[in-house]
C-alpha cells in the first residue's frame, strides 16, 4: 500500500511535535524515519498507526483518507519499542490474538501462526511465555504478531534499541529479510544512522518535527541537503571548519590559510562552514591544492589509523594508511577528494556547494 501524508502537524499543547510533514511512502519499501531524540519521528509513526490523533493535515492510504480512522480500522501492524507482548499469553496466543479479535476460525489462526513462526524463526518457542524469551526472540514474536492480520503496512518503533550490540546486527538483517520475504511496506523509527543506512531503501531525516531530507541512504550520505544532514550521518562524524570566503578561496577562522575548494563563485565575506568527511581527507598527500595541517594525535585502528589534524583551532579527523612515517607534531600536506566535501552557510545551514 502506498501511504501519502500531507501537511501533517501534531501539537502537544504549545509544543509542535511534527510540523507540516508531507511525504509519500512507496509500496513495498523499507523506509527509515531517522532523527535525534524528540524530533517527532515516533509521533509520526503513532499518527500513521492511528494511536496519536492528528492536529491538522491528512493521511491517505492508497488515496483513501484515513486521517480520522481508529487504529483497528487502518489495518496496520505495529511493533512497539519494548514489544508490548501480552505477558499472560503464550507466544502462540500472542500471535493469534489479533486474529481472534478479527474472528478468524481457530484452524486458520493456528495455520497463520505456524506460517509466521516459520517466517520469523520461532517455531520452537510457541508454548513459551514472553518472560521466558530473550530480547531478540521477543522482537521476533512482536513482528509475527504485528504481521498476523496481513497488515497493509508494518510500523516498527525503535525496533533495535532494546537489544545488545550483537543481536542488533542480527535483528536488523532479520528485519530486512522479513520485509523482503513479505513485501510489506515497512516504516521504522530509529535514532541510529547506521541502522537506517544499512537496511532501508530510503531514509527520512527529521529534526524538530520537520522533514529535512528524504532520499536513499547513499544519496543522503553523498548529498546532504543541509549541515544538519551532513552532521547526522557518518562515523566518525563529519569534520567542520568555520571560516569566510575571500577572493574565491576558503579562509579557515584564525588562520592565514587559503583553501582552494570552491567549485563556483560564492559571495565574498560570507560566513561558511566547510564540511569534510574523514575519508575525503588525503593526509600527507601533496598536490597543487593541498594545505598544511599539524598532526595532533594518532589513533591505531588496525589496518588504518585515524589521525587528528589541527588547522587553526579546529581539529579534523582523517584516515591514514598504517605504513605512514608521520609523528605527532609534524606538519603534513593535506589534499581533498572531490567527494564528501561540502560547503554550508554558517548561519542558515543551507548547502552552498
Amino acid at each position: 500500500m502506498q501511504i501519502h501524508v500531507e501537511n501533517l502537524t501534531k501539537r502537544y499543547g504549545k509544543t509542535i511535535a511534527v510540523n507540516d510533514f508531507s511525504a509519500t511512502f512507496e509500496e513495498g519499501k523499507l523506509i527509515a524515519l531517522l532523527g535525534p531524540s524528540g524530533c517527532g519521528k515516533s509521533t509520526m509513526l503513532y499518527m500513521l498507526a492511528g494511536i496519536a490523533p492528528v492536529t491538522s493535515g491528512k493521511i491517505l492510504f492508497d488515496g483513501t483518507d484515513v486521517t480520522y480512522l481508529p487504529p483497528e480500522k487502518r489495518n496496520v501492524g505495529l511493533v512497539f519499542q519494548n514489544y508490548a507482548l501480552y505477558p499472560h499469553m503464550s507466544v502462540l496466543a500472542n500471535i493469534c490474538f489479533p486474529l481472534e479479535i478479527a474472528k478468524v476460525t481457530k484452524k486458520e489462526r493456528l495455520e497463520r501462526a505456524g506460517e509466521l513462526a516459520k517466517l520469523v524463526h520461532i517455531e520452537d518457542l510457541m508454548d513459551r511465555k514472553p518472560n521466558q524469551l530473550s530480547g531478540g526472540q521477543q522482537q521476533r514474536v512482536a513482528i509475527a504478531r504485528a504481521l498476523a492480520k496481513r497488515p497493509s503496512f508494518l510500523l516498527l518503533d525503535e525496533p533495535l534499541s532494546n537489544l545488545d550490540a550483537r543481536l542488533r546486527l542480527e535483528m536488523r538483517e532479520e528485519i530486512r529479510r522479513i520485509q523482503k520475504d513479505t513485501g510489506v511496506t515497512t516504516i521504522f523509527v530509529t535514532h541510529d544512522q547506521e541502522e537506517a543506512m544499512s537496511i532501508s531503501d530510503s531514509v527520512i531525516l527529521m529534526k524538530d518535527g520537520v522533514l529535512q531530507q528524504y532520499a536513499s541512504p547513499q544519496e543522503l550520505y553523498d548529498e546532504p541537503i543541509n549541515s544538519f544532514a551532513a552532521d547526522f550521518l557518518g562515523n566518525p562524524p563529519i569534520n567542520k571548519i568555520s571560516g569566510t570566503i575571500d577572493k574565491g578561496k576558503f579562509i579557515p577562522e584564525g588562520t592565514e590559510l587559503a583553501i582552494d575548494v570552491l567549485k563556483a563563485d560564492q559571495s565574498e565575506g560570507t560566513h561558511v562552514t566547510l564540511a569534510l568527511r574523514a575519508e575525503s581527507l588525503m593526509v600527507n598527500h601533496k598536490s597543487p591544492k593541498s594545505f598544511p595541517a599539524l598532526v595532533d594525535n594518532l589513533f591505531v585502528m588496525g589496518k588504518e589509523e585515524i589521525v587528528a589534524l589541527r588547522i587553526g583551532d579546529t581539529l579534523l579527523r582523517g584516515y591514514i594508511d598504517a605504513s605512514h612515517k608521520i609523528k605527532i607534531g609534524d606538519e603534513v600536506p593535506v589534499s581533498l577528494r572531490s567527494r564528501g566535501v561540502f560547503l554550508f552557510d554558517s548561519h542558515s545551514g543551507v548547502r552552498l556547494q
Binding site: 487504529p71 483497528e72 508490548a84 501480552y86 505477558p87 499469553m89 489479533p98 479479535i101
Partner: protein
C-alpha cells in the same frame, strides 16, 4: 571488625524487643493459650482448674445446634459476599480507572465508607432497611413489591446481612484492585487497540488476567474477613444475632459463649475450628492460584 552471627542476632533481637514483646504478650501468648484451653475439659475460668486434656470441648461445640447454625450462616455469608463483592469491586475499579471527569469525586465517594465508623454506617443501613420508612421498601413500592421486613423476618435476616456485607467490603477491595489496575502498563491497552480489541474484549482478555495476582490477594483477604463476620450484626440487630437468634455467626457464637455463657474452653474450641476452616480454605486458594498464575 566482624561480629559473630550469634552476637549480631542478639543485637537484632534487642532492637526488635519492644515490638516482639508486644506481639508475644498480645498475639502469640493468647493464641497459644486458646489452643491449649480448648483441649482442657471441665475448665473453670476463675481458678484455671480443669479435669483433663481431651476433645470434650470440641464434641460439645460440634453437637451444639447453635454452632452448626453459626457455621451454616457464616458459610453462606462467605459464599455470597466474597465473590459478589469482589466481582462488583472489579467492575467499579475498572470504571474508576477510566479517564473521566470528576474521577477524584467518584473515588472519594467510593472510599468514604472506609473511613466512616462501622457502627454509624450500620445504623444508617438499619434505617434504610426499616420496614415502614426505609428507602429499600420505598424503592420496592415503586415497582409494586410489597414491603419486606428485612431485619425482623427470619427469612430475610441473612439476605439483609449479606447485602450489607457486600457493600461494606467494597471500598477496601476497590482500592486494592484499582492499585493493581494502575500497575498495568498502558502499553498493553494500546497494543490491544492496534490489534483491534474492543473495550469488553480488552477487559476480559487483558485487564482481568493481568490483574489475577491482585484478584487472588483480594479473594483471600476478603474470605478471611468474611469468616470473621460479627460486628456487622450489632447495629443491624440491636446487638443480637438476628431475630430469634437465627443469625448466629461463628465469631458471634464465640463471643456469646465467652462473654455470656462464660465457657472459655468451648469458645476456644469454636475459635480453633474456625481457624482451621480458614486455614485450609486459604491453602486451597493459594494452591489454585499458583496454577492459575499466568506469568
Amino acid at each position: 571488625m566482624t561480629k559473630s552471627p550469634l552476637k549480631s542476632l542478639g543485637e537484632a533481637l534487642l532492637y526488635l524487643s519492644p515490638f516482639l514483646l508486644g506481639v508475644i504478650i498480645f498475639s502469640l501468648y493468647p493464641v497459644a493459650n486458646v489452643f491449649l484451653i480448648s483441649f482442657k475439659e471441665g475448665y473453670r475460668m476463675a481458678t484455671g482448674a480443669f479435669q483433663q486434656y481431651g476433645l470434650g470441648n470440641y464434641t460439645r461445640v460440634l453437637a451444639d445446634k447453635d454452632f452448626i447454625l453459626a457455621l451454616k450462616n457464616t458459610g453462606l455469608y462467605v459464599l455470597f459476599v466474597v465473590p459478589i463483592s469482589t466481582a462488583l469491586a472489579i467492575l467499579f475499579a475498572a470504571l474508576l480507572n477510566q479517564k473521566i471527569r470528576f474521577t477524584g469525586l467518584f473515588q472519594t465517594a467510593y472510599f468514604l465508607p472506609m473511613v466512616t465508623s462501622g457502627t454509624a454506617v450500620g445504623l444508617a443501613w438499619k434505617w434504610m432497611y426499616n420496614y415502614d420508612y426505609g428507602i429499600f421498601n420505598y424503592l420496592l413500592s415503586l415497582i409494586g413489591v410489597s414491603p419486606i421486613n428485612f431485619l425482623n423476618d427470619v427469612r430475610y435476616g441473612l439476605l439483609s446481612l449479606i447485602i450489607f456485607g457486600i457493600w461494606s467490603m467494597l471500598p477496601f477491595t476497590i482500592i486494592l484492585l484499582l492499585a493493581g489496575m494502575q500497575n498495568i502498563d498502558p502499553l498493553y491497552y494500546t497494543a490491544a487497540k492496534v490489534d483491534g480489541a474492543k473495550t469488553t474484549k480488552t477487559f476480559f482478555r487483558i485487564t482481568v488476567p493481568l490483574l489475577a495476582p491482585t484478584i487472588g490477594l483480594v479473594l483471600i483477604i476478603n474470605m478471611i474477613n468474611a469468616f470473621k463476620v460479627c460486628s456487622e450484626l450489632f447495629p443491624l440487630f440491636n446487638g443480637k444475632p438476628g431475630v430469634a437468634y437465627s443469625l448466629y455467626t461463628v465469631v458471634f457464637y464465640i463471643y456469646d459463649e465467652f462473654f455470656l455463657n462464660r465457657q472459655l474452653a468451648t469458645a476456644g474450641a469454636a475459635a480453633v475450628i474456625l481457624f482451621f476452616i480458614v486455614f485450609v480454605l486459604t491453602m486451597v486458594q493459594l494452591f489454585i492460584q499458583r496454577k492459575w498464575k499466568h506469568y
